[in-house]
Subunit: 410 residues, 2 copies
């Protein structure tokens, strides 16, 4: 196979892959508590109003607001205490004009009441009478029926990733089992005759497998289900057997390793041998991460990531992570949401996106600076020192010290 | 018990709690792949150099750099090819002056070599001779032995939370089992006569338990181990039994609910009955979240969070999350790292920290705006709409539209 580098932008690479995949959307019912971090398979509507009744937000007295108009400390509005509300109970009786019911925070307003006077703005005249010293408007200190969620409202959309507050919302609308999409199963294969598993003491010329573990972590952090296929020699039939197995067992497969031309050739030939359309691009115009291979086999994405750990992790974040997290390349405005001032000039080639490892440092006034961590992309220690990646877009030839960069935390 | 509100700052509340707890530091050996997100119990030193040998970063020829000095396209330096390096193998033989060994990316430099010439800067004269058309300096295109991690270097500190790149690093230094701190076990108790579990259809005056589920999610998201104790009535002995059990079984306990004075009183009496020092403060000077109770029983923190879901979640983030994540109140510069322009004026009382739910919106040039989500703190829907919390510090009386605020994403 010839070395065919068609350096594409990240956006083009994504589009090409997306044109050839059909994401599986298998929905599974999981208990509410197990749904954190999973994607919703279906939109969730509210079957009832939340709350199901007008609810006091204060300790005090349920009243008709109009009975308090004009009340003041010098001229309180006098009301008869004709009832009391107990937590979690229906109101007994209706509130009439000139009357007040004792009510605790969270209590249900009695029929006839439309506001709550805080206890602080009342004075007790005798056991059966209060003076209201400050007027309330209708709805004041009350959460109205359906004010949190009205019946029929879609509380969460299909595809939404469930956060802690979403668990609360699902509980509020009575969803004890969630229809969640299955986690994306990601096969991870390391290649290279020099790579040994973590348990093995490397002999001369050998190094331990770093990428399988870092990528396992990245897949897990995206909510995916990583499956390790271990280290495979640079041998066509051995790699073909392993990759074919991974493609049939997983939704997406990443190979890593093989920065040498020989190794890359073996990997490319194996991918091409497995099915259509096969390899879609060799190389993307980013640094680090240029020698990336993108392929699709049987509608499943297969990525050949560079062997250098930093490059593999960066390309994972750009091309693999969105597919694992969302099943698609969705724009995520929170991804590069941190802005920090770069502490030194960094050059970049026009037409190439650069991703710089940065350490964030907080200044006296809370402002963030991003210190580039320099070092070869083969050094995992540079990723350990870094808080995130700063991006230099393709249309810039560099960033000056003091300019702001967008940083993705990791 | 009297209503004793000593409104403290968040910093004071943290300090008070911290003075009374002894964090448990039980270390457990876990397989490397299961250690993601856990805290390291001990610092990890590198037992060997990584890599263990000088390693080529390019496909090309291993050379003595001085043999290439002055080389150019018009006057190449001619070298004899006297060997070849294979991946994962020891070099056979030593490189002499005027010699070159073929070497692939990742290959081990032979003794005598100190640099690699990229294949692109060589011309092949015959099978045994190359011409080098560009000089290399010593160390060029080489990762030196120990350049990633030198032997004896501490690669990760005790207490560090393990990220994907850290898994890679631990693999690199041969750590297949990690000494990790046990996850913090957090007991979660909801209180309130009006609260029913998610499976139950609320009757008149009843609402479903939102807080247990949202807090369960928050504990999980912090790497903690949540234990749900369900919904307990506002009854002294019932609550005392449940809380005593939770304190003995967990490292930290959160009660939530009880925004009414009556309920708060029961919870406070129960906490005081369990042991010394008991309640440390009633109330903190934040909004939302003021009616928070902080206590320590038998060296274990016990928090009485407000009943309103938004308030409970905000207080969790400020007072509970750091203890679950780090076992202490550690400053985390990445926590409020996002800066966004507030889209409208927001007032705040001096001396009080305000936490505003915000939705982030990206402008045309990538700048972020923060739109406040207004609404009562009893409405979980406002948390679902929000991307994060913006902070107004205690020394400010508000933020004007267009001013930057620090946002914590959730």
């Amino acid at each position: 196979m010839t070395e065919l580098f068609q350096a594409r932008t990240v956006a083009e690479a994504r589009k090409t892959v997306e044109n050839h995949i059909r994401p599986g959307n298998n929905v599974r019912r999981v208990p509410l508590l197990d749904s954190l971090g999973k994607r919703l398979g279906k939109a969730v509507p509210a079957k009832d109003d939340v709350p199901g009744f007008d609810r006091s937000t204060m300790d005090g007295f349920a009243v008709k607001a109009k009975d308090t108009f004009g009340a003041s400390e010098s001229l309180p509005a006098y009301l008869d205490i004709t009832g009391e509300i107990f937590m979690g109970k229906d109101a007994r009786g209706e509130l009439g004009t000139g009357q007040a019911f004792r009510i605790p925070t969270g209590g249900m307003l009695p029929p006839g009441a439309d506001a709550v006077v805080m206890i602080e703005y009342t004075e007790s005249l005798d056991e059966d009478t209060i003076g209201v010293t400050r007027p309330v408007g209708p709805g004041e200190n009350v959460v109205l029926r359906g004010e949190d969620v009205p019946r029929g409202h879609t509380v969460l959309q299909a595809g939404h990733i469930i956060r802690p507050q979403d668990l609360g919302m699902l509980a509020a609308v009575g969803v004890s089992e969630v229809e969640a999409l299955n986690a994306v199963r990601v096969g991870i294969i390391s290649t290279g005759d020099e790579v040994v598993p973590v348990e093995v003491k490397p002999g001369p010329g050998q190094v331990r497998d770093i990428n399988s573990y870092a990528l396992y972590g990245q897949v897990s952090a995206c909510g995916g289900e990583p499956v390790l296929y271990g280290v495979v020699r640079d041998d066509f039939s051995e790699l073909r057997d392993t990759l074919a197995g991974a493609v049939s067992e997983c939704d997406l497969v990443i190979l890593s390793g093989g920065s040498s031309v020989g190794t890359r050739d073996v990997a490319s030939k194996v991918i091409e041998s497995l099915g259509r359309p096969g390899i879609l691009f060799h190389g993307i115009s980013i640094k680090p991460g240029k020698p990336t291979v993108g392929a699709v086999v049987e509608n499943k994405p297969v990525f050949g990531l560079p062997g250098h750990p930093v490059s593999a992790m960066v390309v994972f974040e750009l091309l693999v992570a969105p597919l694992v997290r969302y099943g698609e390349y969705r724009k995520n405005l929170l991804e590069f949401a941190v802005r920090a001032k770069l502490t030194r000039n960094m050059r970049s080639a026009a037409g190439r996106e650069d991703y710089i490892r940065v350490k964030l440092v907080e200044g006296e006034r809370g402002e963030l600076s991003a210190e580039p961590i320099l070092g070869k992309s083969g050094l995992i220690a540079t990723m350990v020192k870094a808080h995130g990646l700063a991006m230099i877009p393709a249309d810039k030839e560099g960033v000056e010290a003091g300019e702001y960069v967008a940083v993705k935390l990791f």
